[in-house]
Symmetry: C2
Subunit: 223 residues, 2 copies
DNA sequence: GTCTATACTAGGATAGAC
DNA sequence: GTCTATCCTAGTATAGAC
């Protein structure tokens, strides 16, 4: 091995800036994924930074260099999950389709999101129950607010399609704000029991997603 | 105040044995209720025995006298919740009613159970996600097994009525084992968002329960 | 039966070496 | 940028007084 070549982390002067940022970005994503996995398996409170680090084949130091605190790490995982979901659902919610079909597609997409990004989605559900109210810094509180705003926006997409369907007579005359809870609850419950089977195919996930979409659609349909 | 009268805890020789046991039983129930509340608000891992004790206006000593460990305390709360649910649902599930109506009543009852015993039910949901697999003693593992058995029995009641409805053609041709997940998920999601409003009436809860029962019934109905 | 005092450990977070 | 070493608090659990 040549003594003059750089270590794993190249010297800034030898590397274009954007390349560096890519690496840093990649690094952070790797940490987030490991954290999401740990939070899914043990829950936020029971997860130690050490176990996340070990998962990465590293030590605390690496994590604390990139994230101020365990709470911040959790928030980043949560934000990542919300951004992902909004990005997928927003175009479907905004599409010019009958409420019935639109809701079916949204439910289908959400079920797929949950199954295919399970660790992040599990964290996102833990975020709902999050009990960080006491010990958070004012800075973290504002982060928490923005996460809640994203969640509200997301729920809003479903409320909108429900109201459209009620107005058109496709759906029963129900309270959209109320029924959106069991609707998303049925889908999010996947995070509680679904774990990918060893040799699972996309077809098996599609079947689960179909069943769930049919279930929640039936739940609001007029007959 | 007479000097000869007993303190809060009377001497055994002055009190009939069954009376003593009632007091002990009452004492444990009080601890369980405080623990359930704390576990609901902060989650199992983030709850300290100290905070449960403070809630009781007592100290750790009182709790550790009655329960060996925090895990045992959690298990007792969980068991209490499961016993409660089984007791309510079993007779409905066993009643000689058409599947459609039977499921509606079971869903209604479950929704009411969740709302009216929220702390215990929230713990029961936390139990599903429970990650105690590593650090439990063999004794605790067997307790955990019995809790899982109760949960399976409970879920079984819903699977049975679903299969009856499929056989009779009232429900769609779906996999009962699969659809029971979003069904109970929709109802259990109540533990995530429902909190009794300050001056809440039984009528308001009945309305929520009705909406939920209608939703899950619609989810499986044939059309 | 409940309290106070205390032993003991895990884990969040930081400092400084490399 | 990551590691090692360390500080420090919080919290489980127990012992012994009352």
């Amino acid at each position: 091995m040549a003594l003059t070549t750089s270590a794993a982390t190249p010297h800034p002067l030898q590397t274009p800036a954007h390349r560096l940022e890519e690496n840093a970005e990649q690094n952070r994503r790797e940490i987030l994924a490991a954290a999401a996995l740990a939070f899914m398996e043990q829950g936020y409170a029971a997860t130690s930074i050490d176990t996340v680090a070990i998962r990465l084949g590293a030590t605390k130091g690496r994590i604390y260099y990139h994230y101020r605190s365990k709470a911040d790490l959790f928030f980043e995982v949560h934000r990542e999950a919300m951004l992902m979901n909004l990005e997928v659902i927003r175009p479907i919610a905004g599409s010019d389709t009958a409420a019935k079909e639109r809701l079916r597609r949204m439910a289908l997409a959400h079920a797929h999101l949950v199954m295919e990004h399970l660790p992040f989605q599990r964290v996102s559900v833990q975020g709902v129950e999050m009990h960080l109210t006491g010990s958070t810094t004012p800075e973290q509180r504002s982060t928490l607010q923005s996460l809640i705003a994203m969640r509200d926006e997301y729920e809003g997409f479903f409320i909108d399609v429900l109201e459209a369907g009620i107005a058109s007579g496709d759906f029963r005359e129900l309270s959209a704000r109320m029924v959106v809870k069991p609707l998303l609850g049925a889908l999010n419950w996947l995070t509680m029991w679904y774990r990918p089977a060893p040799g699972e195919t996309a077809g098996m996930r599609a079947q689960i997603a179909d069943q769930h979409a049919a279930f929640v659609l039936g739940g609001v349909l007029n007959r």
